[in-house]
Amino acid sequence: MHTLTIAELSAGLHARRFSSVELTRSLLARIARLNDVLNAFLTVTEEAALAAARRADETLQAGRGGPLTGIPIAHKDIFCTNGIRTTCGSRILENFIAPYDATVVERLSAAGAVPLGKTNMDEFAMGSSNETSFYGPVHNPWDVKRVPGGSSGGSAAAVAARLVPAATGTDTGGSIRQPAALTGITGLKPTYGRVSRYGMIAFASSLDQAGVLAQSAADAALLLRAMAGFDPRDSTSVDQPVPDYHSGLAAPIKGLRIGLLREFFDSGLDPEAAKRIHAALDVFRAQGATTTEVSLPNLPLSVPTYYVVAPAECSSNLSRFDGVRFGYRCENPRDLLDLYKRSRGEGFGAEVKRRIMTGTYVLSAGYYDAYYLKAQKVRQLISDDFRRAFEQVDVVIGPTSPTPAFEIGAKMDDPITMYLNDIYTIGANLAGIPAISVPCGLVSGLPVGLQIMGPVFSEARLLNVAHRYQQETEWHRMIPRGYE
């Protein structure tokens, strides 16, 4: 059962070939057996999962329920879950039991999904390898010596290893797409504002966006439909109707205008990975799509821009973790300052501290204009570049990540090299546009991803294009050895 997609599982559940409780039990057993190696789950909520599965079975028995009723999923540990520990990968929230559900959690539960637990992640979603988690790195099921990418590394590894058919993630600079690419699954980052951020622990508020990691574009469509939509509790969520992403999946893509980004096929891209991308483009051309080269001249500035904006926002967002009201508090503080310094000093890891310091610096008097303000201007230019590109083409296609999964520890000493992992993904966050990564082949036995980007609110189109690709290819059906 564990290799089935959501659509296949749902068909089985509705036909009563198996129950949600049976499915849930089988996946819980799989997690129990395999999680020690992968470290993908931080918390497994067995009882709550079985209770939710029983409720789903009752609904199904009554002949009701939708495409997600009874489908096991996992939530990235960045989403608050009522009564369940929510750590955000940090020591500072080691004992934090969230008193409420995030909107994403609430909506998926309302749609009948069965959450099995919380997945590991880079601390406060700051990382591209899942190595900054206080709870240890996640191991890539394709090669356990390698990283699964990050920050949604736990969700990616869990789906790739078929511990769950799908999982939630968040993407601030590539945190859904890059781990999806490195683990051979499908990852969708929606338009900024498409999915509510309420209850999602903030890293960089103007960039953070919740999305999904799944086995296929078709499954991602089902999940997004349930998650998306206006939320009065999030002022930045957009009040726009949610289309039925599933119904348009199979639409032909004849005449689709694909833009190839000159800046994406530069010297930083692994030559083997580039070949897989070009092969994928042939698949689209064979279906009647055309390709033209487009240029985003300001895109090369996206990494430095991102590493000013994101740390600036995080330095402020993470101020609430002060040891006063919740989370980690140091032992025997001498006074208030000592309480602050040691609670934060002991509670946060090195990468989080690095970004808080960077962010504090760029917002400081005398530096604000040179860094933060300038970065905001460049961000606008990048956004304008994309807007202009989408006047010529429908989607832009390129690689998701410059290389396949690297070895655990390989880049931890060099933050700049680590940051360059996100070079292809950050642009979409800065511009607020949606993007999807789909697996498009293997390089030395490791998956590589194809990234498809579109204008704001073009999720239906992206899912359609990705689905058409997956109809013609089997890459998304690949399962790492030992997890079949």
């Binding site: 903030a202 103007s206 402020s316 101020s319 002060d322 006063v324 009201r325």
Partner: protein, 478 residues
């Protein structure tokens, strides 16, 4: 002797009278048990987000319109970052570079009766912090976040005031205005209306402003005046002694009547303001402005001008009666019930009524004598049923018993004696009882006239019509 000029600007924090907080649905009621009005948003829990209260925005717009200010069509909420236990998120959401209200004015009346226009640089929306509690916690500190997230309008003046008295006049004017507009209850004891003052001095005629000190903790009109006066003396003392004033924040201590240094400019926080990415820019369109404009009441200055021109009141009386909307409404309702007599109404509202309210610490809205009841009393003066003197006695009885003027006049038999025969009889009795005084008066001691008035009044229990009494007495005593 050097001539010094004082320069004062005020920053007033008016707590907006919304039912819920500026970014959360928690109630804003004062005095609730600690942390009973603090939800997850107010507590700054992980993952929660602010949602702007539209009523608070309308209130800010109302203030802007009432002061002739520009209403920004697009203003920005910013984060002011600093750590403090009563600041749950580690930042305060405020407005920094682009406030909702800019460039307004308010007129004040100076002691010599002339008017002066005070510029309002800006007014911006922000959230209040919580409170730290230190008492009764056995050496520990507690945090009460009920106040955290309460909406404030920070009203920043130009440095246009030249004396403590001007500063107080301006502060009172703002206080009156926000209550007229019903956007702030103005309760200074509960901290709903607070003030910081920027004070500097310079030599008369100098162009450049002197170094300023910011005075905090000025939570009454009296403290504002005393603190500024103290600070001005302190700064002049330093400058005349050859020293220089340090730019700093100083706390006013009302018990010692002095200001003390809190922190210098060097110690000041770098607040690292930046636009709050959780909130969209605040857009205010013409429709909202027109809608709010439609809710504006007659403003204090307009009302005072009307009282002066239509009721013939003095500028002073008009000013006093329009100091609060409730007082002005009360006065107008008395005049309406009487069908005129604005001066009589004004005298009683400003005199007996205000005196009694002050004595008992009551608000006019809760007055023991309502406007209809006071009009009932004044009508009896008007129709000569009672004298003004007796009316004061009736007023006191009304105040303590809560009965109507007519009930008291009847019950106590206070109806004025206008029967000439009855007054003459009383005069004759008094003359008969005081033969020696009568002789002295008739011998030319005119001053004794008052004695006879008093005796007759005493005999008639004050009810003799004073005008009639005077006339009859003069005739009889001849």
């Amino acid at each position: 002797m050097m001539e010094w000029e004082t320069i004062i600007g005020l920053e007033i924090h008016a707590q907006l009278a919304t039912r819920s907080k500026i970014f959360s649905g928690s109630a804003t009621t004062y005095g609730a048990p600690p942390n009973s009005q603090a939800n997850l948003v107010d507590l700054g829990y992980p993952g929660v987000l602010p949602v702007l209260n539209a009523t608070a925005v309308r209130m800010a717009v109302k203030f802007g319109l009432a002061t002739g200010a520009n209403i920004a069509r697009r203003s920005i909420f910013a984060r002011k970052n600093y750590f403090y236990p009563d600041l749950p998120k580690g930042y305060q959401i405020s407005q920094y570079e682009r406030p909702v209200v800019e460039d307004g004015t308010l007129d004040i009346v100076l002691e010599d009766g002339s008017r002066k226009t005070i510029g309002i640089t800006r007014a911006h929306l922000e959230e209040d912090a919580g409170k730290s509690l230190h008492e009764g916690l056995k050496g520990m500190s507690g945090i009460d976040l009920n106040r955290a997230g309460t909406p404030l309008l920070e009203i920043v003046s130009e440095p246009d005031m030249r004396s403590a008295k001007e500063a107080v006049a301006y502060m009172k004017k703002v206080h009156t205005l926000v209550r007229y507009l019903e956007i702030c209850d103005g309760n200074m004891q509960e901290g709903s209306f607070r003030c910081d003052a920027n004070v500097s001095v310079r030599l008369q005629g100098a162009q450049k402003l002197g170094t300023r000190a910011e005075l905090k903790n000025l939570n009454s009109f009296r403290f504002v005046e005393k603190a500024i006066n103290y600070e001005v003396e302190r700064q002049i003392g330093i400058l005349e002694g050859g020293g220089s004033v340090v730019q700093e924040t100083r706390l006013y201590d009302p018990d010692r009547n002095e200001t003390r240094s809190m922190r210098s400019k060097e110690e000041a926080n770098d607040y690292r303001y930046f636009p709050d990415p959780d909130l969209l820019p605040l857009a205010i369109d013409d429709a909202i402005i027109a809608d709010v404009r439609g809710t504006l009441p007659e403003l204090p200055d307009e009302k005072a001008a009307r009282f002066a021109s239509e009721h013939g009141l003095s500028d002073y009386d008009s000013g006093v009666l329009t100091a609060s909307r409730e007082l002005a409404d009360y006065y107008e309702s008395v005049v309406e019930a009487l069908g005129g007599e604005p001066k009589l109404a004004a005298n009683w509202v400003m005199g007996e009524l205000s005196g009694a309210l002050n004595r008992d610490g009551q608000e006019i809205a809760a007055s023991r004598i309502n406007s209809m009841a006071l009009a009932g009393l004044l009508r009896r003066i008007q129709d000569s049923t009672i004298s003004g003197k007796i009316a004061k006695e009736v007023f006191e009885a009304m105040w303590s018993d809560g009965k109507s003027a007519d009930e008291i006049i009847e019950a106590r038999g206070l109806r004025q004696i206008t029967d000439t025969g009855a007054i003459e009889r009383a005069i004759e009795d008094v003359m008969a009882a005081n033969p020696s005084q009568l002789a002295e008066y008739r011998a030319g001691k005119d001053k004794l006239f008052g004695f006879f008035v008093g005796q007759v009044m005493k005999a008639t229990h004050g009810k003799a019509n004073p005008a009639q009494l005077n006339e009859l007495l003069k005739r009889k005593l001849k």
